[in-house]
Subunit: 147 residues, 2 copies
Amino acid sequence: MRAEEKKFEKYLRLCGLRFTPERRLILREAFSIHDHFEVDDLFVRLHQKDCRISRATIYRTLDLLVKSGLLREVISGERHSHYEHILGHRHHDHLLCLKCGKVIEFSNNRIEELQKRVCEDYGFKPENHRLQIIGYCNRCQLDQGFT
Amino acid sequence: MRAEEKKFEKYLRLCGLRFTPERRLILREAFSIHDHFEVDDLFVRLHQKDCRISRATIYRTLDLLVKSGLLREVISGERHSHYEHILGHRHHDHLLCLKCGKVIEFSNNRIEELQKRVCEDYGFKPENHRLQIIGYCNRCQLDQGFT
DNA sequence: TTGTTATTGAAATTTAATCTCAATTGCAAT
DNA sequence: ATTGCAATTGAGATTAAATTTCAATAACAA
């Protein structure tokens, strides 16, 4: 069994929940996508494979996957949830352009370290984090002289 | 005219839009709240003052206020938008507990500085940002031995 | 004043997410 | 195996946020 399945099963057992076939299929599908995805992406992909899993179950399972620390919710500009898996996926944060909607990924070790220290100060155990910087990209700044 | 109104009017003019009485009222109400608020908070407060402004107008105006850099959307655990004003409001970030939902505010200058540097590297002009660290608070860690 | 264009409100619509509930399934105890 | 209890599922109803539509109105420049 793959690492992520082990971890999920462990989490479920600890909560008195069950590692059902549906939950395994959803987990596998989520981990087969090496990019951001949304609920409907999973639904479509599963149904293309003739897995008739309902949306309700996908919603419920994604909640569990986030709680177990296997997925994280990434915030895009859109008003519905987007996810990406954590295990085996390099962490990154985002610059979001207010004008053209462009998303730039970046990562910075020193910021991560400082976050760890903040957590220590508060006795907080981080599972994951998200950092978005919202503003204007290179190109769009030219049109934004109003400040 | 207050600083925020000046800035908003400037933004609107530049976009070929109008600084209408409704927009002014919404802006004032938003800036009278020195805390997070949601669309409905504004709607209720305005109607208590007999300002019969429709929800649609509030939604439309809040979009503009965010685009103009006067408000920022803060992400709470809930699935609808929350806002806070930027001008004259001390910036902070959040620690969110996955288990009990507790929100801890923190701020860290060195993280902010590093963010600025990241932006410089990408030629990006930041208007605001949001950083959330998700995990388990002091108290809830004890119950979370599954990792 | 006039014409153009943005804006508004009210209601309809869209969309995401949650809830309900009966049928089913997993699983531990027998 | 069998049984019984509790968790899980799917389908559809429901909730709630946000967006769209469109006719009436208002802002503003000429």
